[in-house]
Amino acid sequence: MNAVRRGIRNAFRNSMRTVGVVVILAVAIALSISMLIARDAVTNKINTVKASTGTTVSVSPKGFFGFNGGGTPLSMTTIDALLNLPNVTAVQESFSEELSSSKTSLTSPTPAGQLGSQFGNGGGFGASGSTTFVIPVRVIGTNSPGNAVVGGANGGGTEKLTSGVAFSPTSTADVAIVGSTLAAKNNLKVGSTFTAWNTKITVVGIFNAGSTFTDASVLMPLATVQKLADAPNEVTSATVIVNTIGNVSSVDTAVTKALGSSADVTSTQATTEAALSPLNSVKTISTYTLIGSVIGAAIILLLSMLMIVRERRREVGVLKALGAPNRSINSQFIAESTTFTILGAIVGFVVGIAISSPITSALVSASGGSTSSNTGGFVRRAGGFAPGGSGFSPPTGAFANRGSGAFHFGGFSNTITQIHTSAGWSTLFFALIAAVVIAALGSTVAAATIVRIRPAEVLRSE
């Protein structure tokens, strides 16, 4: 029987003690596991939310809010320079104009309605205008066809071609991709033409973005719109693409610094961080509790092993007298402590996995309950919009605030607390590593004590 087998057998030498040590270890390991799972679940949720917010920073002229705000268009040269900032992979630029019936042959498919009349004529909510308001046709010049309408400024959604082809990002041709409802309203097909700024424009594609507002728009090459609108080198919005989520904040700061007071720079990062702050608290709590419970388990095992070594001092002396090397005796005690740890881990894993979901929910509820009111967006109220508890979701489901600051977080805080816990292989692997660390820490001091035992002294005390 080798030292390891002797150690395993020794673990069952005193059944009462074995049960006691295993139960205490199991409690500590169960706590560790549940905290590990909670931490993983919360981390996954944080990453998911962060990933859904995208890696973009939006730039718009200071005070610009769609066509309801003011501001001066940005210089394209200035925006192009943002490409040189660290961690910036691309800059998407657009120049938007709203064309009234005097500037285009197109008719908007969107009825003005009460809101259109209200905002279009500049009156208060519920006021009736003196003339009939007609929604203008929105033309977006973009150097990024395919991503031009993402975000609030350009209508939201992601345009998908339903027919035809897209134009090149650097195109200067008098071509357009027309929103599906606008195309239907004006009987446009690929190859059809319409006029804008007294110029004949050829439809090369029809797109659908799933948004009534967006699908009533026209996408054209940026250079073409700048030329026709007599606005060379002007940009009304830009989207800076960042290489990773983790760099969004630093790029946001760098862009703000580069553009100074001429632009509003927004990213979802700050809002996301604020909304995720309860989850970050839970993550911190679970991390510290995890560390504490691992250390606690190690201390429990260490004290147990110290007690056992002390109790078996004479036996260790006899083993040494018989010629057992320290290595063999250490292996025996390490095997014994590892056996305790494995038994505790088996029970602890089962219990930990079982309690991880309610513990995570309790932690998230407790933490989120005190902070959820801070994540409120805007609610529609009589007489206008005011800060409130639950608000708009962006049109595409992305928590976008890229175009003009039109969208804010609100109701999505409700989904943040819906966390799914699961014990993945990686979690269990790390838990196993933690258990081995516990066993190693727990038996280290015991092993050091064994080395110091002198058989002559032990046997002399007979």
């Binding site: 029987m1 080798n2 036996e315 083993l319 040494k320 007298a321 010629g323």
Partner: protein, 224 residues
């Protein structure tokens, strides 16, 4: 053949130095049973610890079959102890959760006996000390004191050591059993040609030895 020369050991305590073994010299032949008698605190256990390489002497030499042991380092002492020294204790000191057979095999494991031979050797030794085969798989708690000491003797001799050190081996036994144990020690010593040193208080036990040595205040002398 054991040859001890000018062995000396002093312990430093808070109350001053304790000279436990003073300039001890003696010889013992293979297969010889030597009794060491002495009062409590006379230094006999310290002498046994030095001879068993459990402690290092301050000076002097211990020569076993031509090998000088006094200067061995700690791993060397451990290795030599596992193969060439056997211990028999007053309290038997069997490992309580191992059976009689497993206790004997423990000594064989530390002496690096071939794994396949250990079972047979343990069986042979338990037979030699007269332990009923039916008791070989019992734990020490299920054996009488005499039986436990037989197991301890079987364990001490199992790896065929050259030197057996028995510290009051009959101290926890009744007289009749004690006599049998000493006879057993002599028998096994003769069978295996090992030198046996028995520390005892009991004159009757000592008289059964081939030679008697007396230790007093750390000084050893032969009783003729």
């Amino acid at each position: 053949m054991l040859k001890v020369e000018n062995l000396d050991k002093t312990f430093r305590t808070g109350a001053g130095d304790v000279h436990a073994v003073r300039d001890v010299s003696f010889e013992a032949k293979d297969g010889e049973l030597v009794a060491i008698i002495g009062a409590s605190g006379s230094g006999k256990s310290t002498l046994l610890s030095l001879l068993g390489l459990l402690d290092a002497p301050d000076k002097g030499s211990i020569d076993l079959d031509g090998i000088e042991l006094a200067n061995l380092d700690s791993p060397g002492r451990t290795q030599f102890r596992s193969r060439q020294v056997g211990f028999v204790f007053q309290q038997f000191n069997l490992i309580p959760n191992l059976s009689a057979r497993e206790n004997v095999k423990l000594a064989l494991e530390f002496a690096h006996w071939p794994k396949n031979d250990r079972d047979a050797r343990a069986h042979e030794m338990l037979n030699l000390v007269g332990l009923d085969a039916s008791k070989a798989d019992r734990r020490p708690a299920k054996l009488s004191g005499g039986e436990q000491q037989r197991v301890a003797i079987a364990r001490a001799f199992a790896a065929q050591p050259q030197l057996i050190l028995a510290d009051e081996p009959t101290g926890s036994l009744d007289k009749a059993t004690g006599q049998k144990i000493v006879e057993l020690l002599r028998k096994v010593a003769n069978t295996q040609k090992a030198t046996v040193l028995v520390v005892t208080h009991d004159e009757k036990i000592a008289k059964k030895a081939d030679r008697r040595l007396e230790i007093d205040d750390g000084i050893l002398k032969e009783i003729t």
